[in-house]
Amino acid sequence: MFKVQVKEILDKVKSDGRKLLFEDEVKRLLAINGVAVTPCEVAHNEDQAVQLAEKFGYPAVLKIHSIAYTHKSDCGGVKLNLPDGNSVRAAFREIRAAVADQEPEISVTVQPMASAGTEVIIGVTTDNHFGKVIMFGLGGVFAEIFEDVTFRLIPITRKDAFDMLGSVKGNILLEGYRGNPPADRETLVDVLLKVSKLIEKNAEIKELDLNPVVVYENGLLVLDGRGTLL
């Protein structure tokens, strides 16, 4: 059954003539495979955005939903912590205004604001030399500036997944520091294994970028994601 659902999502992407997997599609792929994500649906107008925000509960998050703007926050396409319907409407208009020249009819995704935790990133790439490779790193500057990330060939074993956590310097944040509780490394390892398995079974997925993934004392949530097909 899961297999059918995954196929449906990927077929839709292909029948649209896209390579890009939208955030909501990536999250559905993950959810099907037992990875916790923030619920996320697409709104095409203000009213829909408010309806979805009320369904998920406030505070809400709106993000641009576009092939062109894959770095969502760079174009002013991410609005966080929206407390009520009015702020959702205002945010929707601001996102539209930001890209009005290029995509005046742009849609957004709506999702609830998640609480803070330790941010990590999980990625998948198809390397010219090795093929399918999974990447893990701590979020934010750790990955971007310090390039503190680690790679393994897919498929990974449970030991590989634990080794991945230990292979980045930022691991110290996952272990708990200055009174912060340790992050739920078991669940994180499970998610790495699930992503590995998803890619192993669906080789047509070229890249995945789960960023950020917030790890809590118990459990984790994937807050954003994108992907591409071969």
Binding site: D127, N128, H129, F130, G131, V133, E147, V149, T150, F151, R152, L153, I156, K159, D160, D163, S167
Partner: protein, 476 residues
């Protein structure tokens, strides 16, 4: 009338298992393009084979010359009065491609192609290289190169490189994507008295890939440790999957170049292959059971230790010295790598006091610095006995500084190692030359010697790494 025409039936187009044995252990060889001018590659590769002590018939081939280094020269391959197992082609790139047919007709079982001017020089070269690959594969002859320094099989006395040299016999075989780095490894190996078995400059890998060489060396009973210098390879996936299997039989140590974006381009124009991201390579190599070295020095340090020493049960290192500085630096490196320096047991300290006095003017700890009391080799040996005998010590690093009047405690270290049946490494603060005699003595008895802290530390950790690799694999 030639004998070689007897072998003219060639298994055309067969790409089954590539039999590299006749290439590495030829019974006879011909050098196409051999010349008498020492400035030329064609002379040096011929001289290298002679100087290397090749025992079989050796035929220089040249259209005009009569004699090179006392060997009769033949005008072409089909005029040679006997079968030829290996054809060493020291001709230019165009002639190299053209002569393959003749090699096949004469029943040649393996080819070494030296010439550059193939895939590494751009579109025209790529075309020519494709032709070389196709022809070699169609004819079913394994071909090393092109664009390589050559290869060496010390075990078969076949030194087919244009840098004539002699190696020390041993169990380490090296695969190198670069001639120059391959030479660096060999020269370092000579300094370190690391015994070598085979050395392969893979060149552009037109017909044989890293994985082919790795498969061969993995099955080669004479090779105990495999060292690899690589820039990058499209064959990387197959390569690491092979390492995963081979590492259970013998250690595979890899030094991967290309840590910057710029080096990708340099590698491309060197051997026609992008280097690929360093961190990705390093992580995936380790994931699949390779020991990853960061420099040539580390590569040789690891290969040497792995080829000489028994493996430690764990990562707890007992350090013994008579001078604190080198032990602190070595401890730093070892701890960073992941070793532990355990506290010695009370009985160990008592044994030490029994040797150097009940109230010695030193602090007893690990590293154990016996200071002036450790200068005499006999005393040093008795303290070493206490250190390696300590139940929490898996492996000992014994540090000593070269002195005009005091001898190195080499025999003492060897005796202690044997007594406790645990691995020991020596780190002598010395020059390569001044420690040569002791290096030979120690290494013959399975104690690798290093003359700097970093290499000694890396070697200790490599032994532990390999112990981990084989135990984690056997546990499933």
């Amino acid at each position: 009338m030639t004998i070689c025409s007897n072998n003219a039936v060639v298994n055309g187009g067969s790409r089954m298992k590539k039999d590299l044995h006749p290439l590495f252990y030829p019974r006879s060889a011909a050098v196409l393009g051999a010349v008498a001018d020492p400035e030329k590659v064609g002379f040096n590769i011929f001289e290298s084979i002679v100087y290397g002590g090749f025992k079989g018939p050796l035929y220089p081939i040249h259209p005009k010359l009569k004699n090179i280094l006392g060997y009769d020269v033949y005008p072409s391959l089909d005029k040679v009065p006997g079968p030829v197992d290996v054809a060493v082609i020291a001709l230019n790139q165009l002639s190299t491609v053209n002569v393959l047919e003749e090699c096949a007709q004469c029943g040649v079982k393996g080819i070494l192609s030296i010439a550059g001017g193939f895939g590494e020089v751009g579109a025209e070269g790529v075309k020519l290289e494709n032709k070389l690959t196709e022809r070699a594969n169609e004819l079913g002859i394994p071909l090393i190169g092109p664009n390589t320094l050559g290869f060496i099989n010390d075990d078969g006395n076949f030194y087919a490189t244009f840098y004539p040299l002699r190696l020390i016999k041993g169990g380490v075989s090296i695969i190198s994507q670069s001639g120059g780095m391959g030479l660096t490894i060999m020269q370092k190996a000579l300094d370190e008295m690391m015994g070598m078995n085979k050395w392969i400059g893979v060149g552009n890998r037109a017909a044989l890939e890293f994985s082919d060489y790795l498969t061969y060396l993995g099955d080669d009973p004479a090779t105990r440790v495999i060292g690899v210098f690589m820039e990058g390879s499209e064959d990387a996936l197959k390569f690491v999957k092979l390492i995963r299997e081979i590492c259970l039989k013998k250690p595979v140590v890899v030094f991967k170049a290309g840590r910057t974006k710029e080096s990708d381009y340099m590698a491309m124009t060197h051997t026609g292959s992008l280097a690929g991201p360093y961190r990705l390579y390093k992580d995936i190599l380790k994931q699949n059971g390779a020991i990853v070295a960061d420099t040539v020095e580390e590569l040789v340090a690891c290969c040497k230790a792995l080829s000489l020493s028994q493996l430690p049960e764990g990562k707890r290192v007992g350090v013994l010295t008579h001078t604190a500085g080198p032990s602190i630096v070595a401890a730093d490196y070892m701890l960073q790598l992941g070793c532990e320096l355990p506290k010695y047991a009370p009985e160990t300290y008592q044994k030490v006091r029994d040797v150097i006095g009940q109230n010695p003017p030193v602090v007893l700890k690990n590293p154990l610095d016996a200071a002036g009391l450790g200068f005499p080799a006999l005393t040093y040996g008795r303290i070493a006995d206490a250190v390696l005998g300590d139940p929490s010590v898996d492996i000992m690093m014994a540090i000593y500084c070269l002195h005009k009047n005091w001898r190195f405690p080499s025999q003492e270290i060897i005796d202690v190692r044997k007594k406790w049946n645990k691995p020991a490494l020596a780190y002598y603060v010395s020059t390569v030359g001044d420690s040569a005699k002791d290096r030979e003595i120690l290494q013959k008895e399975g104690v690798p010697l290093y003359i700097n802290a970093r290499e000694a530390a890396r070697a200790v950790y490599a032994l532990y790494e390999y112990k981990q690799i084989i135990s984690s694999q056997t546990q499933g």
